[in-house]
Symmetry: C2
Subunit: 251 residues, 2 copies
Amino acid sequence: MIGVFDSGVGGLTVVKEIYKAYPNCKIVYFGDTARLPYGTKGASFVKRYSKKIVKWLISHGADSIIIACNTSSAWAADSLRQEFKDIPILEMIGPAIEQACLYTKNKRIGIIGTPGTIRSGVYEKRLAKKGCRVFAKACPLFVPMVEEGLVSGNIVEEVAKRYLAPLKAKGIDVLILACTHYPLLKSTIQKIIGKEVRIVNPAEAVVKGIGFYKKGKSSFYFSDQPYNLQKISKLCFERKIKPIVNDPFNS
Amino acid sequence: MIGVFDSGVGGLTVVKEIYKAYPNCKIVYFGDTARLPYGTKGASFVKRYSKKIVKWLISHGADSIIIACNTSSAWAADSLRQEFKDIPILEMIGPAIEQACLYTKNKRIGIIGTPGTIRSGVYEKRLAKKGCRVFAKACPLFVPMVEEGLVSGNIVEEVAKRYLAPLKAKGIDVLILACTHYPLLKSTIQKIIGKEVRIVNPAEAVVKGIGFYKKGKSSFYFSDQPYNLQKISKLCFERKIKPIVNDPFNS
């Protein structure tokens, strides 16, 4: 069974891609809504809770892990792999970088994500090693916009222009959506950044790394009542999901 | 010493009003940045952490408490007063309601706040008892906009129109800013809602309830690295503050 975790509901866009590739794949999902957002939290906080969550997922039957959260992928993936050597741990950043390098012709790559992911500098460092120039921009309003169901229209386009204009001016030819919520804004982002820029959705890339899986009914756990879960769920799956709400890390 | 707490940095707008009334007032501030935002969390979560924080503030010398967070005021004030009978606990909602009732002529009052505050229905219930009609609207984008330093301009006005148009259409003559961040958007909100609507900032109202205070240097504690603290602090005080970052509720 594949264990997927995120700071909240955004990881459902990753589940969406898993289902596209492997319909009926059995997943145990944990959204840490009690402590979201991870994007503005410190690195040690994100590491500590990522470890707790992976332990919990394993105790609930997961035999492989996908870190859907980009902030957690940036800060916790290495220490998680050190800690849990026996199971495959997939994260969002490596596969996204591979994909971006396949797409780019001019080696000028844009990254958008939460303040935490951007501040970590992890994409820049890894892409620089591959000879790419990287232009990064934190987009803190995108997540609350998606969670409000605002994925197109005037306000979204104005906000997208604000964030994307500096990247467009740099002549990027690939843009990585380094936050789970952003694929739901893909059509607006494509419209603003221009058709000539190829967009990388890390979830599509990471799914290619899944080696084995079981079929069965998935379970969706959240550490606190998820805000606008059904809105996001319908945007992702065109149906509702049944959340199980309980915080295992609080006495 | 006055203990002030909030889910994050927004409570600094309350500190701003305390300083306006009582310069050099000694304050111990706790921003629960490790678990913010409270606005989308469940009621039992908010109650549990509010209690922990009040205990912590008392152990750090507070002999009166101001609950700066509206969500916590809505869900936790009653149980906190039951639990901590020996010290005065001020919250945002009662004073804001008194002020709104003084201002209104047509008894049609608007409320804007986080989804949690609005969902609690606490303002509606209390204002209904006073014979007012209440029109409430959750504005989830306002907090991340303020935290990005976006307090005026085109995007803010577009978002404000989206939220405030339904209230304007109801002919309200008073609007309560039921979230600590919103006073920083006051001039934009006033512009969109119209000059004829009087705006209530609960922080201004609550400060009138302070009975005693000490002079001295204030301390500002946060349970995790606060995001854009200096931006908010400069918007509030026109100077920076020195945060002490430590989560007392995590082993």
